[in-house]
């Protein structure tokens, strides 16, 4: 039963990924546009065993995206700090990097919503005495994103909602809510052909 449930969950994620990428497929050719985004989000961790020990800082995020066959290919990097709130746990800094596919649905000329799936790695450095582990640690995560925005030809202001699951031994479930700005650059044909 557990296996069927897991299979169902995975198929749903893959189906949603395909849905976000195929049914609303970009008409723009690969690498014709490059978008650079920056955002800040408040972070919430829902798991008690984490939230009792650490408070998460705001997430600072930078991403680059470009049209890529089934949607937009995006690369992310973001920073989140784990600050002790019980006075005993050690503070951590995390660097998170990810790639993902997303798609944009335009409702009007000015309103659009981006949705997508990311897979990435959370990297933390640990320097704790008596810990029987490597000091650098990288852990897998996946995330779902929704980003409604107001756009012009070159700039897009957007709100950002993200659910992220990090596959530590004690799983982390995080939610992020924030806002950002995205700058759109049109790639000259020479560069586009070079990249492709």
């Amino acid at each position: 039963m557990r296996l069927y449930f897991k299979t169902y969950k995975i198929c749903s994620v893959l189906f949603l990924s395909c849905l976000t990428t195929t049914s609303i497929q970009s008409q723009t050719s690969p690498f014709s546009i490059i978008e650079i985004s920056s955002s800040m989000s408040s972070s919430t961790i829902v798991d008690d065993n984490y939230s009792e020990r650490w408070k998460l800082s705001n997430k600072l995020s930078l991403s680059v995206s470009t049209p890529f066959y089934l949607g937009n290919l995006r690369a992310f990097i973001d920073l989140i700090d784990y600050e002790s709130n019980d006075g005993q746990s050690v503070d951590f800094n995390s660097v998170n990097y990810a790639i993902g596919l997303s798609h944009r649905i335009g409702f009007t000329r000015f309103l659009a919503i981006d949705g997508g799936v990311n897979f990435g790695i959370q990297k933390i450095a640990k320097d704790i005495p008596n810990v029987t582990s490597d000091s650098i640690e990288r852990e897998l995560f996946y995330a779902f994103l929704l980003e409604p925005g107001i756009r012009t030809k070159y700039i897009l202001f957007y709100g950002s909602f993200e659910y992220r699951k990090i596959y530590n031994f004690e799983r982390q479930n995080l939610y992020f809510l924030g806002a950002g700005i995205r700058v759109r650059l049109f790639t000259p044909d020479k560069i586009r052909n070079f990249i492709d």
């Binding site: 066959y69 784990y82 790639i99 008596n130 490597d134 640690e137 852990e139 031994f169 492709d196």
Partner: protein, 639 residues
């Protein structure tokens, strides 16, 4: 239940039309697969649906269809047609240079039992064909990282920062009829057996190979292996000359030593040089293969006892001739091999010379016959086409395996087992070490516009078969387990084996590949039957590939292997609880994507392995793997 599942999967794989030719080779095209796997060995085995046993994906015991005593991996490995020595120091476990599969052209698995060039016993073969297209250099590095790290919680679970860290560089130079290929590959991976690795399971055995670096007592120890491969070819209208040089070096290697019941830390160096001459227009002499191989291992003296300090040497050659008799050509192969191994601790040595010749031709127009006669092997094979899509084969083999038996031949002479203790490591021998069997095999290949099917099935009856049993018992006063290794003969054992491969493409962008194998014990000795439970009865895999664009591919790969039983752990499980004798089923789903940029100069691949997050393990004493992410970057320069 196994038969029901097997029947269902078999019917599923046969639901299509047919026509066309006969052969019995399975060809894996590197450009028709995308999923990153642990290394080249696993890539071959998974894509050819070959079941295997491994502790750590570093070395493999691959199960060929049926069962062959004393040769854990009886596939012969060839690179561009030249035999590659994939096992060293009489160890049967198979290791290959970890070439990136996108750097090879194809892999051909040949399911005909035949003497393949330098070898003197008939076996199936795996032939790796490299790309020889122009001048290019490629550099690849990758990381495989699995989940369940402790994260911000310090000691919740051990942090294995990465499971494998492969690197490889390949350079191909082509000028006129000359082609030179150089490859360097390196793997750094989490090491082997839990009994020598996991302190919480057997503290005493763990102490044996506890981290050698005092200041970093808890640092995860890894196996590190490096391969170098050189292939040189010269082609002309009349002949081909191929040369191969290869080396394998591991300065720090940990291996669970099955008979001694202990983990052995050692260093290993192995070198080989091969040459092949093929004449194209000759009416008599066709060509010669020659191979030289040597290896040396030294024990890493962490804590006594020392285990492996060996040196070995082998020299082999084979020559092929055609005899034009009665307008039907007869092929003749003469092969011989000299092998020598020495234990530097006990000063004992063993050497053996084996030879064989094979005659292959047609008794009548369509009855193909192959006869092999040698000092270790005698066999005869008849094959007759039933139609243009299938044929029937009958064969009989008689093989002396004592000379090839690692455990018996070497253990009995005190080679490689210098750490054995008289009172706790027992050898009981009641066997002639001869296997004799007959088999009836049906094989087919069908093809139409959308589907391609290759398959075979055989019934095998063993007239005589040596059996090996290992049992461990814990010993609290020793750094090694007590072991009892016994040999006995059984007779009149029967097997049924089937392998099917179906590839389908419904459009240019969608490809399916369905593979199903069955390996069933039918009748015979109960101990052999119990042993046979260690071999997967069914192996099934399916891959679905969506080619979005020539620069973007998505793939789903699924593999199923049922529960197996390793009876050698029965006592240990009863007395200590670990390792359990039952190996969990494998139900593994991978999702992968491949992307190419800058006119294929940059290749990025991403695989989520084991998405169902079922614990993946191929030996209960080996590593246990969870879901993992595999990222690879590769740069290709053509010049």
């Amino acid at each position: 239940m196994r038969f029901k599942l097997f029947t269902y999967l078999f019917l599923l794989s046969l639901s299509f039309g047919s026509s066309s030719l006969f052969a019995q080779k399975v060809v894996l095209r590197a450009d028709q697969t995308n999923s990153l796997l642990y290394n080249l060995e696993e890539w071959i085995f998974n894509n050819a649906n070959i079941p295997f046993r491994t502790y750590d994906f570093g070395s493999f015991e691959a199960y060929s269809p049926g069962y062959t005593y004393g040769i854990n991996t009886d596939f012969l490995i060839l690179i561009d047609g030249i035999p590659y020595n994939s096992a060293w120091l009489s160890n049967d476990y198979l290791t290959l240079p970890n070439l990136n599969f996108s750097d090879i052209d194809s892999v051909v698995i040949d399911y005909d039992e035949h003497i393949t060039k330098n070898n003197t016993y008939p076996a199936y073969s795996i032939n790796i064909h490299t790309k020889k297209t122009g001048n290019y250099i490629s550099v690849e590095t990758a990381r495989l990282n699995q989940i369940n790290d402790p994260g911000t919680f310090g000691g919740a679970s051990p942090n294995v920062e990465f499971v494998n860290f492969p690197t490889n560089v390949m350079l191909n130079l082509k000028r006129g009829n000359y082609n030179s290929l150089f490859a360097f590959t390196s793997e750094l991976y989490s090491r082997t057996g839990q009994l020598g690795y996991n302190k919480s399971i057997q503290p005493g055995l763990f102490d044996r190979t506890e981290a050698p670096f005092e200041e970093s007592e808890f640092e995860a120890q890894r196996n590190h292996q490096q391969n170098f491969l050189w292939l040189q070819s010269l082609t002309s209208e009349n002949y081909d000359i191929n040369l191969m040089g290869a080396s394998y070096i591991s300065n720090q290697f940990y291996e669970w030593h099955r008979v001694s019941g202990i983990e052995a830390p050692y260093s290993l160096e192995q070198y080989q040089l091969s040459a092949a001459l093929d004449l194209k227009n000759s009416t008599f002499y066709e060509g010669t293969n020659f191979s030289y191989s040597s290896g040396v291992s030294d024990t890493l003296d962490y804590k006594s006892p020392a285990v492996l300090a060996l040196s070995e040497f082998s020299l082999s050659q084979s020559s092929r001739f055609t005899l034009p008799l009665k307008s039907l050509p007869i092929n003749l192969t003469l092969s011989n091999k000299y092998y020598s191994i020495k234990d530097k601790i006990t000063d004992s040595s063993y050497d053996h010379h084996s030879y064989a010749f094979t005659i292959e031709g047609f008794l009548r127009n369509e009855l193909k016959t192959k006869i092999t006669f040698g000092n270790d092997i005698q066999s005869i094979i008849f094959q007759k086409p039933l139609s243009n899509t299938s044929s029937l084969q009958f064969s009989t083999f008689n093989q002396l395996v004592g000379k090839n038996s690692y455990n018996y031949s070497l253990h009995n002479r005190g080679i490689g087992f210098s750490n054995l203790q008289e009172n706790s490591n027992q050898l009981i021998n009641n066997s002639e070490f001869r296997q004799a069997y007959s088999q009836l095999k049906w094989l087919a290949r069908l093809q139409n516009d959308k589907h391609s099917f290759t398959g075979f099935a055989f019934l095998r009856h063993y007239w005589k078969l040596p059996n090996e049993l290992i049992q461990y018992t814990p010993n609290t006063n020793s750094l090694q387990l007590d072991t009892e290794l016994s040999y006995f003969d059984s007779s009149n054992d029967g097997l049924f084996v089937i392998q099917t491969y179906l590839t389908s493409h419904y459009s240019e962008s969608l490809r399916f590949k369905t593979m199903l194998g069955g390996n069933f014990f039918l009748y015979g000795n109960t101990t052999f039957r119990d042993h046979y439970l260690s071999i997967p009865a069914i192996t099934f895999s399916e891959s679905i590939q969506y080619i979005v664009d020539e620069n973007f591919i998505l793939e789903l790969f699924y593999k199923y292997v049922p529960v197996r039983t390793l009876n050698e752990y029965e006592n240990l499980e009863e007395l200590t609880g670990f390792p359990p004798k039952q190996v969990r089923k494998i139900s593994m789903l991978n999702f992968s994507s491949g992307m190419w940029f800058f006119n294929k100069t940059l290749e990025l691949k991403f695989t989520l392995r084991n998405l169902l997050n079922n614990t993946e393990s191929y030996d209960t004493n080996g590593m246990y793997y969870s879901m993992s992410v595999y990222v690879s970057g590769k740069i290709n320069f053509n010049f």
